[in-house]
Symmetry: C2
Subunit: 215 residues, 2 copies
């Protein structure tokens, strides 16, 4: 069906119909997705209307199972933007005892960033590394957040439990994602320049949806 | 420069360097943008790393001047997601007396949506139409919000002062944007399926940046 035709769909059916169209178009292009990655990739396409995610979204071994287990265990989710925090299903996370955080607007983070000549995103990562318990980093905006996580990992032995690494941009976005893929940290990364706070949030939400469906 | 090389850029220079790279790539592709539209289109590319916005972002006559005047006049900005609201520079808007709103989580909106069998986004638009003063609608998610604005316009004579129409998706996203372009409402619309809450927010922020620079 052409995109510029009106389709009548009941409010509660819109998401389902969107996923049906996405599945149909992937089939038409002959793109086969791994079953465990499929709901994540389709949700990124649903969020962006960009089918390139089917080619660039990259998962380490068992990444989705690791991520879903972390959520079941009540891990903290740390975002690098208020937008990602706003987009994450926080009441869904709460059911598993998970809390989502974003330190970007904290006055202390501003001060550290200014003093050290680093971005607020990088300073946020350092603060988040000191949080108690398991930690999922959901980075949709700042390559410097991923660069800082890599530095903390390589130089101080910090091990994030999971990284959703989907910063968007032109300065070190692709590079920072390649760097994370070279570590042994379980992650989902979108290779190249694309990503965003909306994509970071949708990947957390994809995990929640999938846990909910497989209960 | 290849995307996977590290580039050293000071925190305060990252955005400037990103815009330089975007300009360079547009030049290389021979894409010429209208001066008044350029900062808006470049900011969408900056937000998404997607150069297709250079071809699909569509402005009605004098759209950017109309939008900037509305902000200077203290118009309300109504979003269809908490994500867009989170991404908008609200302290920047406040300088001009503008307030940003999102009614999506209001209990009353949930009740109306349920009762009328419409989406919460559509119900939000109806509520927003009753706000006092000038109104800018920044729609990044729900095609049904644009469909409702069109209905209010055509059937009840409601005139939004400006529409940023960039919902993303597969069910009526492209159609709803074409519909708004057919009205006489001043707007910026991204033709086709692409858009998002991040794009809606970045277009409001582009207007604020441009007003700030041209003071």
């Amino acid at each position: 069906m052409a995109d510029d035709e009106y389709i009548f769909v009941k409010p509660e059916e819109i998401e389902k119909e969107s996923f049906r169209i996405i599945g149909e178009e992937l089939d038409r292009e002959g793109i086969k997705l791994k079953p465990e990655e499929e709901p994540y990739i389709k949700r990124c396409i649903h969020t962006s209307a960009d089918f390139s995610y089917a080619k660039t979204l990259t998962f380490t071994e068992n990444a989705t199972a690791v991520l879903e287990d972390l959520i079941r265990d009540g891990a903290s989710v740390i975002c690098d933007t208020q937008m990602a925090l706003a987009g994450i299903n926080k009441s869904g996370l709460k059911k598993y005892g998970c809390e989502a955080h974003c330190f970007m607007s904290d006055q202390r983070i501003r001060e550290i960033a200014k003093k050290e000549g680093i971005t607020r995103a990088a300073a946020s990562m350092e603060a988040a590394a000191h949080l108690e318990g398991k930690k999922i980093f959901a980075i949709g905006n700042a390559p410097t957040a991923l660069l800082k996580l890599d530095l903390l990992h390589c130089e101080q032995g910090f091990n994030p439990d999971f990284i959703i690494g989907v910063p968007v941009g032109f300065v070190n976005a692709a590079y920072s994602k390649d760097l994370i893929l070279k570590t042994k940290i379980p992650c989902i990364v979108n290779r190249g320049r694309k990503g965003g706070s909306n994509i970071a949030a949708c990947l957390v939400n994809a995990a929640l949806k999938h846990i909910g469906q497989s209960k």
